[in-house]
Amino acid sequence: MNTPIKSEAFSIMTQATAGLENPAIDEWKAQGGKTIGYFCSMLPEELFLAGGLLPFRMRATGSEGTDGGDSYFTNNNCTFVRHCFSVALDGGYDFLDGVVVINSCDQIRRLYDNWLHKDISPFVHMVALPRQSGPDQVEWYTGEFHRLRKSIEEHFKVEITDKGLREAIAVMNETRRLQREVYELRKRERPPITGAETMAIMVAGTAMPKVRYNELLRELLTELETRELETTYRARIMVTGGILDDPTWMEAVEEVGGLVVTDGTCFGGRLMHCDVDEDIVDPMEALSQYYLADRPSCPRMIDTQVKRKNYTVDLAREFNCDGIIGEKMMFCDMWQVEQFMMTMDLKEEEIPFLKLEREYITSGTGQLKTRVQAFIETMGK
């Protein structure tokens, strides 16, 4: 068993991850700040920051069931949307002043329809995401960001200036740089931090003011520089897949000897793989270029399969991983087929790969642990 990370920074971060509304948000709101929820890592947090809003990445941590959601979705819809909508119907997102949705997948876009239908939030905006990442699509997506900008300005009575956007980009690039430093430490033979702890840190970054978060990350990095995990692990694992915001899932993997040393998930490594180009004159175009074309995408973007494969293989090698676990939510068509292709790609690369399906809320980790144990066994570790 590892000694817990001591710094207060980590404790604040885990508080932000453990539930939805957290002390950092309460403090922000107490000062009159507005918060805005957003679904999907393809949406530009910088735009919200420049509008003086606190961005909160939507999740349904702590949801106890899908009863409410099940009245509007079916049992063939993923449990992420069903939990989110249940929480919404129960008022669990009332601390948000608005929500921005994106048609990142079929289920999320229907969440938008239901959100409007049940009048959940005072402000709801939908962003149209292209399926490809070429110049024409970047241009379209820039237009979408302009529409979002205008919509925020009108509803929240704020002005989003280019100067404000450039400042927000600088803050977010600093966040990404610091997060990469954390990941860099995990390349060590005995990393200073577990995968579950890293996930808590990454999720916290989507649920508290960014400047404060950056301060906490700096503080945490100081402690991590000299820390070393005490437990001996049997295998170094990379996790890849769709939405995963629950550190207890990672814990279950690590409890049976698979130390998660890196990931390609949308609450993790894909958030900070590279930076927004601050040299592009128009900050809106820079954001569009980054979110649509530059950062690693999920399988939604049809022209990125080779890029995604290379990203996964390169990361696994860079972090000296023994194997990769691909996690996907039940009823997610995109990750379903992605795993199908990944199985062939990783076999060719001779990287062991385990496909796992999961429900949004981690419960009963016995089966998960058994499968991970067996996976580690097959790798001869």
């Binding site: 009245s71 509007y72 979705f73 079916t74 063939n76 819809n77 993923c78 949307v81 048609n103 997948c105 079929d106 289920q107 876009r109 229907r110 969440l111 938008y112 329809d113 239901n114 239908h117 939908m126 149209a128 995401l129 292209p130 399926r131 490809q132 024409d136 699509q137 379209w140 997506y141 399988p299 939604r300 049809i302 022209d303 399969q305 039940m330 009823f331 997610c332 068509d333 995109m334 379903q336 087929v337 992605e338 795993q339 199908f340 292709m341 199985t343 062939m344 790609d345 060719e348 399906e357």
Partner: protein, 443 residues
Amino acid sequence: MTEAAEVKIDDPGIQRFREERDQFTNLGAMIGLIDDPEVKLNVRITAFVAKARQKIVDAYEQGRPFIANNYCTAPELGLAMDLPWFMLFDAPFTLMGRQSLHEVIDESVAMGLGSDLCTAIRTNIYYVEKNLVPVPTAAVGFVFPCDGMPMLHQVMGHSSSSWRDVPLICPDPAPYFADGNIESIDYFANELRKTAAFLTEHTGNKLDMDKLKEVIDESNKHYELWQEYNDLRRAVPAPHGHSMGGQTCYSMAQIFGVGDPDVTTWFQDLVDLTEEKVAAGKGVIPEGKKEIRLFWFDLNPTTFADQFMPWLEEEYGAVMVMDMLGYHDYTTIDTSSEEEIWRGLAKRGLFDTPMVRQSIGTADGFVKDLHRVVEDFKIDVVIWPGHMGHKEMLGTYGIMREACRELGVHFFDIRMDIWDDRYTPIDQVKDKFTRFFEAAGYA
């Protein structure tokens, strides 16, 4: 038919098309023996399918280019550019003979595709992976209206696929908002223009705008006649149920007979025949039964509808008056200028075509269609098949149920796989209907 000895058989996909051509031809010959004008009209459909397959086989054997395209990415381009085309995504619709659909479904799961993935996507991926789709000179991808389609296209381009070197263009449907705003239409029109240029680049065949105009003028006639036919389906008693019109009109106008003058004749004959039936007050259901008018709000389960829809008609007088693919909200394309032609094709592909029009947009679009169908066709019960793969439709379940309540019509939710009759076995489907009709006071 070509002599077997002269046939090149090196492409298993072409071989499959030859087999399907023969099977549809034989099916037509067999059913054609039935002396019934409506049956004879349906027999002609098998001939159109066989003809479409033959065109691909001919192009392959003669070394001419042919392409894969789709029903909502300007299928008119094929004829206008003298490029025989087939729809990649037709495996579960045309599958005959070679393997049963059950076998294909089971093998796709064994191959590593999960059973929660839409069966239509699974079976098509299986066909691509097993090299059972002819490898075209170039392909136009279709990355909407659901998450499964973009994934199918990525498998096509994957290093494991025999399609990996096929030049592929995917017109991007970035615009989301469903009401046909001009910005969205212009965006997609530009994507279609690029598609034509792409096809020229990779096949050498040029687009003749006069020829495209001619094809569209002909296809406009299809849509006008289809609309006339649908207007006739409003009649009480309903002249036709699941076995006529509906989905077949869609497959003729948008897949197997795009711009074909013979198909115009077929539509005209369908209208004439139906007019006679309506004038005579003849319906589908047995005389003496009170008609229950159904709207099937999804694709028709073509491979097993025959196992329960005739039973519905006979047992309960319940007739499928309209279905999602049969519902017509097309406008004709203005061919007076090049710009209007591209806009028209874009609008037709994104905002008129059933399934795409509903699934790509907001749930509001679904609700508007529901209102219009229920009112225009005097619907008593909206059937929500709840196809396991249509995640985007499943996400409107509550909204649709409430919309039906507001409209004062019954909403009946089945939950099935519209391609796999083992998911909810026919007996269970029938049992659900029985219990529903009893509870709703119809039985």
